[in-house]
């Protein structure tokens, strides 16, 4: 068997299609049997104060260092410390790792680590029968059980019979391990997440050196805390090695990835690095104007660390000032960037319109989250597409770029910068909470092979009599010259009032306005974007599934499943939402049925229907969570089935 979970499905729930690997004993560091698996999904769950995100991050780093392919899904409440022990306070981190190429954090965990009753109750519905559940029995007190509505202790009432439950007194064992540490009980208890990490690291043969190094660095100023965490971590490992509770451990061999040097990276980090790289490759100083907002703040934090790249970060007084400052810097010749989430985009709309009118390069990064209004700040959604497309007064077209995976955020940032700099326009970069916080292995690019983004500022007058015409366009790109202050002879004034073509002087002339509106639209419509690639290996598909953004993982996993079942389905994933790839209309026409899964109520489908008169069918979910591969596979199966049924009728 290749999974710890027996599943009746023919396809094992893996989003990979790798062959089952027969069990073989691994060379022994332990007398216990070792079972070989091709993939595992683990979910760590506890109180938001239990350090579950850190635990997950560390397990991820160990797994990356080991060489597995992986995909992660952090899931946490917006409250920093929600009331302890309650269902809303549960924070979790899911990690899927495998010996083959995988695309999603997995539909259902094979292993759940539940630090308290709330964590068990909140996550139980996601567990398939046969899943392993490691529970911290110390927290299963009457009071804690009552807090989440357990009338009886689920560990004793038989309600968990479908699962393989490992009751472990994590707190007691941690305290025991640290009894000589000199730490107060409360401080020692806090290391129980590291005990759990140690146990899981033993179960899956993870390398431990990195975690010990990490702990000693993180707590460099409090060596006693560092050593306590290391001790708890080792105690967890040793517990696994010696206890009879865990009879076997598991081995997931490294994945066969394309040759190269890899690191693990989250979407927000990749996006931050993409911005730094865009600055380096364009030769322009990066200026980030931003206001803290979940889930985008990490980009502000990250870029503020890279001042030695000439990156300026400005924490503004509000969202409007954040983009205003970025636009002011762009006027001065910087690569202006603002980062935010949906509510912030709403506030920035007027300034984005000004940037459209000024025709200056500007990156607007929207890490989408659940909406409307404050919505679900820490949960994912992709419902800002229409806001990005149309959320401004007047005709104000803005290009839209959307990465499909965490690692792709790097290239998407470079691509957005290319468009902004080449066409002198604001550009939307639409990521989301899932991409932002999720992570995956990333093959490091060769810096010298990254796109050349160098720009030429205007240096010479371009009008009659040595005058400068700020709106005299490049006939190919329709971009206007970028003449930055400090350039003699090119002094000019621009603003949000309609401008006369060429001179840029204020103009209320009806024909000129009509011309300028159409020209700004044409400029965006003519932006060069690559054709969308269609994955249709059999060439026999009649159903096309079209996605954009972070749904790439689950859609692709679902497509693999359908194909493994003998179904023919074609897939296209859009990285450019405005303009659409030139071949998109022709691609859509080729298929009898077009399915568009989105984490919104059908925004891309609306655009496709409007633009191409195609009967695109939406499949929607707005639960603040990514799609599951199985769910989308069902949708695709149903589409194939309905086509067959129509034919037999």
């Amino acid at each position: 068997m290749t999974s710890q979970v027996d599943q009746s499905e023919a396809v094992d729930g893996s989003d990979g299609d790798g062959p089952a690997v027969p069990a073989r004993p691994a060379s022994g560091r332990t007398a216990k049997p070792i079972r070989r698996l091709d993939r595992v999904i683990i979910r760590f769950a506890g109180d938001s104060g239990d350090g579950m995100q850190l635990t997950g991050d560390r397990f991820t780093s160990e797994t990356a260092a080991f060489g597995n392919d992986l995909s992660t899904l952090p899931n946490f409440p917006a409250e920093i410390r929600a009331p302890a022990g309650t269902l809303p306070g549960v924070s979790s981190f899911q990690l899927h790792f495998a010996d083959h190429d995988i695309l999603t954090p997995g539909d259902a965990p094979d292993v759940l680590v539940a630090m308290n009753p709330a964590a068990l109750k909140a996550n139980l519905p996601d567990l398939p029968a046969g899943a392993e559940v490691i529970v911290n029995t110390d927290e299963f007190t009457k009071r804690a059980l009552a807090k989440v509505g357990y009338a009886a202790d689920p560990l004793g009432d038989g309600s968990l019979e479908a699962f393989r439950v490992h009751p472990v007194p994590l707190t007691t064992l941690t305290l025991e391990a640290l009894k000589d540490s000199g730490l107060a009980r409360k401080d020692a208890e806090r290391a129980k997440n590291m005990f759990a990490l140690g146990l899981l690291s033993w179960m899956y043969h993870r390398p431990t050196h990195g975690t010990e190094l990490f702990l000693r660095q993180k707590f460099a100023k409090k060596p006693e805390i560092a050593e306590a965490n290391v001790a708890a971590f080792r105690a967890g490992w040793n517990f696994g090695e010696t206890t009879e509770e865990f009879a076997v451990s598991y081995e997931v061999p490294p994945a066969e990835l394309a040759p190269g040097t890899y690191r693990n990276i989250s979407g927000n980090l990749a996006l931050s690095y993409g911005l730094v790289a865009a600055g380096e490759r364009s030769g322009l100083p990066v200026f980030l104007g931003s206001y803290p907002i979940t889930p985008a703040s990490d980009i502000l934090h990250e870029l503020s660390k890279h001042k030695n790249f000439g990156v300026r970060t400005f924490q503004a007084e509000d969202e409007i000032a954040g983009i205003g400052a970025a636009l002011g810097a762009a006027f001065g010749g910087a690569l202006g960037v603002t980062t935010t989430s949906g509510p912030g985009v709403a506030l920035k709309s007027e300034t984005i319109g000004l940037a459209v009118s000024l025709e200056l390069p500007l990156l607007v990064v929207d890490i989408q989250r659940g909406g409307p209004s404050t919505g679900l700040p820490t949960k994912t959604e992709q419902a800002d597409l229409l806001q990005a497309m149309f959320g401004r007064n007047g005709e104000a077209p803005v290009p839209v770029v959307a990465p499909a995976t965490p690692a792709e955020c790097f290239g998407a940032a470079l691509d957005a910068a290319r468009i902004a700099l080449t066409y002198r326009t604001p550009v939307f970069l639409l990521s989301d909470g899932y991409l932002a916080n999720g992570s995956e292995p990333w093959k490091l690019p060769e810096v010298g092979e990254l796109p050349d983004l160098r720009v030429e500022f205007a240096t010479e007058p371009n009008g009659p009599g040595g005058s400068f015409r700020p709106y005299q366009r490049d006939p190919r790109t329709l971009a206007r010259p970028w003449a930055v202050p400090g350039t003699p002879g090119l002094e000019h004034r621009i603003g949000g009032i309609e401008k006369q073509d060429g001179t840029g002087n204020i103009s209320y002339d009806p024909a000129n306005h009509d011309f300028m509106v159409r020209t700004r639209q044409a400029k965006v419509d003519n932006i060069a974007v690559p054709d969308v690639e269609v994955d249709d290996p059999s060439g026999e598909a009649r159903v096309l599934v079209v996605g954009w953004g972070s749904t790439y993982g689950p859609i692709t996993a679902a497509v693999r499943r359908v194909r493994a079942d003998g179904g023919h389905v074609a897939q296209a994933h859009l990285r450019h939402l405005n303009p659409f790839p030139a071949n998109l209309g022709a691609v859509l026409e080729r298929y009898e049925r077009v399915i568009v899964p989105e984490m919104n109520l059908g925004q891309l489908a609306l655009l496709l229907r409007a633009r191409y008169l195609v009967d695109a069918q939406s499949y929607n979910q707005v639960r603040g969570l990514p799609f599951k591969a199985a769910q989308l596979a069902d949708v695709l199966h149903a589409a194939l089935g309905s086509l067959d049924a129509e034919e037999t009728r």
């Binding site: 060489g67 890899y262 690191r263 970025a326 001065g332 202050p485 000019h492 004034r493």
Partner: protein
């Protein structure tokens, strides 16, 4: 020649300039008789004094009558959106220390829709010179009351009189930790230019409130401060290091409780104006002297001019320090981070 320490990073002009160099070919479109004309002329003839390259000067404005100003200055300029000029100018100044950046705004633009950006620019102390044209009315939208209009103002939007208490822009600025606060009047070119000079010398954000007449919707709002027959009694002309006098027969004294008061010259001793005082208390008290109804005892000149760290200077220093400590950024090293693994080919 005046020294402008705030402009030390701005390239010097090759030769002498004249007011004409700063005029554009655009037809000025303010109403005939508007106070903005006088301010424009005063600024255009003042700029050559700075001795910096014209192309390194930028005027940024928001929306409103005053905000058309950049179109008439032959420098770089941006006519942006309502209230946002301080934010946009902050980004420009913070990324280009070689520029002299000016913001032109009005009472509605700076104190109503853009109030947040104004106070934060002031507290941050970015190297910006903010010219706030205060005519106590909305002109461009045709005559609604503004956040500096007197209570009870009858306008199109307040036919029974406005209800809300106005801002005192200079009190607000001092409360927002402004390092330079001054007031002048559109029609007094000499005084206006002396204040511009002091503002241009100041390192950090300078707020210059310019009383400006809107002859269409609020004509004569500041007449008492301009008329030869009344102005000498109504104005308190502040000069650093000089006694604070109020008209021919009065001066400003400090009462035992610390409050400032207008008193006959025979009574007590006039306070001596100290624009550089570390404490903002006296400057704040001066902003409160004027009678709200009659404008009598309105101080003009530089109320406060203190030295404080400048945001953009410090930002640039942080970049230099980071490079000194870590070396110039190496992109390949950044991307690789500390934990990589290699898959063989």
């Amino acid at each position: 020649m005046t020294d402008f320490p705030a402009l030390r990073l701005v390239p010097k002009a090759d030769g002498p300039q004249s007011a004409k160099d700063f005029k554009t070919d655009q037809e000025v479109r303010w109403c005939p008789g508007c106070g903005d004309y006088a301010i424009l002329a005063a600024v255009q003839s003042f700029m050559p004094e700075l001795g910096i390259r014209r192309e390194n000067t930028v005027f940024v404005s928001g929306i409103g009558c005053s905000s058309r100003f950049p179109y008439y200055m032959n420098t770089y300029g941006m006519h942006s959106i309502h209230g946002r000029a301080p934010a946009i100018a902050t980004g420009l100044a913070a990324s280009r220390p070689d520029l002299s950046v000016w913001v032109v705004t009005g009472d509605g633009d700076a104190l109503s829709i853009g109030g947040n950006h104004l106070i934060h620019a002031l507290r941050r102390n970015v190297n910006l010179k903010i010219l706030l044209f205060n005519n106590r009315i909305y002109g461009l939208t045709k005559g609604q009351y503004s956040p500096t209009s007197e209570v009870g103002k009858i306008t199109k939007s307040t036919p029974m009189g406005s209800l809300d208490a106005p801002f005192n822009p200079l009190s607000l600025a001092i409360g927002a930790e402004a390092s330079f606060v001054a007031r002048t009047i559109d029609s007094d070119r000499q005084h206006l230019q002396s204040v511009l000079r002091a503002a241009a010398q100041h390192e950090g954000t300078a707020l210059v409130e310019i009383y400006q007449n809107c002859n269409i919707f609020n004509d004569g709002a500041f007449e008492v401060l301009k008329e030869p027959g009344t102005r000498d009694e109504a104005l308190i002309r502040l000069e650093h290091g000089q006694p604070v006098l109020a008209g021919a027969g009065h001066h400003v004294v400090r009462d035992p409780d610390g409050e400032l008061r207008i008193a006959p010259r025979s009574e007590g001793t006039a306070i001596v104006h100290d624009a550089h005082a570390a404490s903002p208390s006296t400057a704040f008290a001066l902003t409160r002297l004027a009678d709200a109804d009659t404008l009598h005892h309105t101080p003009v000149g530089v109320l406060r001019d203190v030295s404080r760290p400048v945001y953009d200077t410090q930002l640039t220093e942080q970049l230099a320090r980071a490079e000194e400590r870590q070396g110039r950024g190496d992109l390949a090293a950044l991307l690789a981070g500390s934990s990589t693994w290699t898959v063989g080919g």
